[in-house]
Symmetry: C2
Subunit: 204 residues, 2 copies
């Protein structure tokens, strides 16, 4: 019973997500958020809680709406295809929206005041979870002979993640999609070749 909410919570969350994507957690003020959402301040508090809870909801939604290519990639048959799909889709996402380039996770809170420490750690945890999934996928690939015996799945996963993070930084700096695709090409050009695929070329 009682009055109904006059705004669509998910639509508002999408608008807030874009603000955080562009300005990061601390850089986004409630003035920015209310303007983008078209909703007054107390409504945001009643719908989501405080700013940190709001950001975490936006982060969840970000992975649901935009990071669908991660599970997609993990299901591809070879480690190389997994990496390629991750990298190319990431380039697309990082450059698709000119007004909020890059990645919410990286833009969100790389460094900042002590008050945002918990948010920073949350972002780190999410990245670490993704990297762990990737490492496990590469371990499987190694067991399947898709990656050579000398391959180090943890280093390979960290390498792919480094490219992803580095390109997010570059996208935020205005790098073109073409340039970032060339970076991906370069990154993939040295992919290790396993026993089951020794016919693959060594350099793209």
């Amino acid at each position: 019973m009682g009055r109904h909410r006059e705004f669509d919570v998910e639509k508002v969350l999408d608008a807030l997500l874009c603000v955080f994507w562009r300005k990061g957690y601390e850089g986004a003020s409630y003035a920015d958020l209310t303007e983008a959402a078209g909703v007054e301040r107390p409504a945001l508090y009643s719908a989501f809680g405080n700013k940190e809870a709001l950001f975490r909801r936006a982060l969840d939604r970000y992975y649901e709406r935009y990071m669908g290519f991660i599970p997609e990639a993990l299901q591809l048959p070879t480690a190389r295809e997994v990496a390629a799909h991750l990298l190319y889709c990431s380039v697309d996402l990082n450059t698709r929206f000119p007004d909020h380039a890059g990645c919410l996770n990286i833009n969100g809170a790389l460094a900042g005041s002590d008050e945002s420490e918990t948010v920073r750690q949350a972002l780190i945890d999410v990245r670490a979870a993704g990297e762990a999934q990737l490492r496990e996928r590469f371990e499987r690939a190694k067991a399947e002979g898709d990656l050579p015996e000398t391959a180090k799945p943890d280093a390979l996963a960290a390498f792919v993640m480094a490219i992803l993070h580095g390109m997010a930084v570059q996208a935020k700096a205005g790098f073109s999609r073409e340039m970032l695709n060339a970076v991906v090409e370069q990154a993939l050009s040295t992919w290790p070749v396993g026993a089951s695929r020794t016919t693959a070329t060594a350099k793209a």
Copy 2:
């Protein structure tokens, strides 16, 4: 004539530099800065100007004091050695100080409020200048036959920079030096080989 300054400007600048390194431009408050410097607020204004000017001085000092390996690297004989030196020295710098891990340029201002836009652009410009130097060095390497005719110096430079930025993000997240060195190893494992060095191994 008049009273002498009681503090060493360069020592203070080093202390401020470390605060920015850890918290970034917007995340560092004057409360943080004065505490780290052991100097009161008006003294910082009289010595450096406002916060932005202060940050730019700190950034200059950062490159002078800690980024000496960049010109070092550019003078090495082969493109691969240039890249290797950049990457390994960067890992060392990013993990040398546990209380301010990563890179000042990346931590400084990746995203934030509109007021820090000029600072963000300044950091982007500095990175672009470094990348341009690297590209030119790779163009020379290509002309010398050190890189193959098919090599794209701009993509190669962007690739190396992406690894550098990505590792800076990872270092800030607490990655160990060993892990990052493994990332560098992976990044270098597929380095293109030119006609003058066809005897080099294709995979590490």
